[in-house]
């Protein structure tokens, strides 16, 4: 049979692909596995030589300590900062993107200026912002960080949403205008529903950015609004790292992002590729 060798070659190829795929997953997922399992280990298991590859029993003592000491509240701080700043960045960014997409406000110059703001290195921004915030009394406040995160996410939101909005047929908006909508109602009843998947994808990325930030929070917080990323580094110590706390705090801070990404997954892949294609 002439078809057989082809099929056999095909099968071998598929088997090879699985072998490589499994190996890759092992390499890429192992560190996360290690982090998660460590958060359930007892001190004896953590400081065992040779290392223990999995905890003997699931115990939540490491987490209990974080909640008892109040350290877990930093996850709440991160949640407040990331959620509120995402909310504002999405509102201001989307309406600005609508203006840029529909009315060509400011022409190409304004669009380029906005995206160039995205390229500013955070470390160059955070220093003068810190001096400014000291003067305003905004250091270690929610307001300060929320404004900073919102502003820092805006270029991304505007850029992404502009692409999504440009894809909405103009006729839909015109039809709504004729049918009796105000400009605002058109935005609310036509543009937002039409850009739904883009809104979700952009919001998730904006949330993840604010959630993952370390540098801004390191500089601009002290004790009141410490985020979980800063809290994790508080456990680093010269000789005696608080390993259990590092692991448990990291897991606490990772779960919300995993949940957000998992629930929005179907929008994200399209979001990444479309955003990249449109540039």
């Amino acid at each position: 049979m002439s078809g057989l060798p082809f099929h056999r070659r095909h099968d071998v190829r598929l088997a090879l692909r699985y072998v490589v795929a499994v190996a890759l997953v092992l390499v890429f997922v192992f560190p996360i596995y290690w982090l998660f399992t460590m958060s359930f280990k007892t001190p004896d298991e953590i400081f065992a030589f040779p290392p223990v590859w999995y905890p003997r029993a699931i115990q939540f003592n490491n987490y209990r300590v974080l909640f008892k000491d109040g350290d877990a509240a930093t996850v709440g701080n991160s949640l407040i900062l990331a959620t509120v700043s995402t909310f504002f960045a999405m509102i201001f960014g989307t309406v600005a993107a609508y203006s840029l997409a529909r009315f060509k406000t400011g022409g190409e110059n304004l669009a380029v200026w906005i995206i160039s703001q995205r390229m500013m290195p955070p470390v160059a921004i955070v220093f003068p912002v810190f001096l400014f915030y000291v003067w305003l009394g905004w250091v270690d406040t929610y307001v300060g960080l929320i404004i900073l995160y919102t502003a820092f996410s805006l270029p991304y939101v505007i850029w992404m949403m502009r692409g999504y909005i440009e894809d909405i047929p103009l006729e839909l908006e015109e039809s709504a205008l004729v049918d009796g909508c105000t400009r605002w109602a058109v935005l609310w009843k036509v543009v937002l529903p039409m850009a739904r998947s883009g809104l979700f994808a952009t919001a998730v990325f904006t949330f993840v950015f604010a959630w993952n930030d370390f540098l801004f929070a390191l500089v601009l917080t002290r004790t009141e609004v410490t985020t979980y990323t800063v809290q994790v580094t508080h456990y680093f110590g010269g000789q005696s790292n608080f390993w259990a706390k590092i692991a448990a705090m990291s897991v606490l801070g990772t779960i919300p992002v995993f949940v957000a990404v998992a629930t929005m997954q179907r929008y994200l892949v399209r979001g990444i590729s479309m955003g990249a294609v449109k540039g």
Binding site: P169, E171, A176, L177, V178, D179, G180, M194, R196
Partner: protein
Amino acid sequence: MSDLKISGLHKHYGSFHAVKGIDLEVPSGEFTVLVGPSGCGKSTLLRTIAGLEEASAGRVEIGGKDVTWARPRDRDIAMVFQNYALYPYLSVYENIAFGLRARKVAAGAIDKRVKRAADMLGIAPLLQRLPRELSGGQRQRVAIGRAIVRDALLFLFDEPLSNLDAQLRDDMRVEIKRLHQELGRTMIYVTHDQIEAMTLADRIVLLRDGQVEQLGAPLDLFERPATRFVAGFLGSPKMNFLAATVTEGAVVLSDGTRLPLPPGRKVREGQAVILGIRPQHIAMAGAGALPGHVRVAVVIELVQPTGSRVHVNMPLGGTSIIAEFAAHDVTAPGERTTIDIDMNRAILIDPQSETVI
């Protein structure tokens, strides 16, 4: 009483002058068709009436009110768009109800009006579906339903049938005509298709380069075109144009063929003219010549049957003319025959000004 009055309307896009001073008055209840080739400004004119484009100069009045600077929503208009403009995330019902909800009509009244519109258009069974579950013709019905449910003073149509296939287009044309008769509302309809214009219109406004070329009832425009452009634009197949000279009371074609001068035209001896003859005004020579007809011998070049009629090409006056015969008159290519041309209905055009003499 006129529902729409436009005076001195201009529209510029940068350096492009799309509408060049249009004056137009549309009486109540009339079906007006704006027609012309692409780029003639017909869509721009319609969009300016709707308020989707800002007028650069001039004045628009709807229902006796100056609305030149009013928002679209304050103009008492409804509009049907080329690509249907249905909201993909709303059901057919909600699509039709959209305008009423935007205007805060009471829920009970909305339901009654949506159902009535759906019944009129035969889409009542589709009300709970989403637009993506509908065929092209059904979507178009929904789009029209969304406009008529509004009960506006003025209905605007922007090439609503151009995305449908030929069969559906014919059906929808009948539908729109029927709706106009039932509703008796003022409708303004933009198309580039002269058949749509002829069949639908009470009055045609033929536009060219941002200006009104001619305006009137369809038959008026067809039988008494003011310019060569109008004569050529309306009618299918297109009118035949032949270069000729007026000599001794006759029209002499470039190949020497002498045709009698159509009566009542002011021409001088030796004047160069363009002779316009509609394909429908040429017939196979019958038993006896009718008054005003002239008999010419020709050779058949090409035959295109359309079913009920047949289009026949033949050389005459140094060019190839086209005639429309009854199907049973079919003739084979290469055959010699004689034809009768109705010179009473032929037109003469001044080649300089391109206006009809």
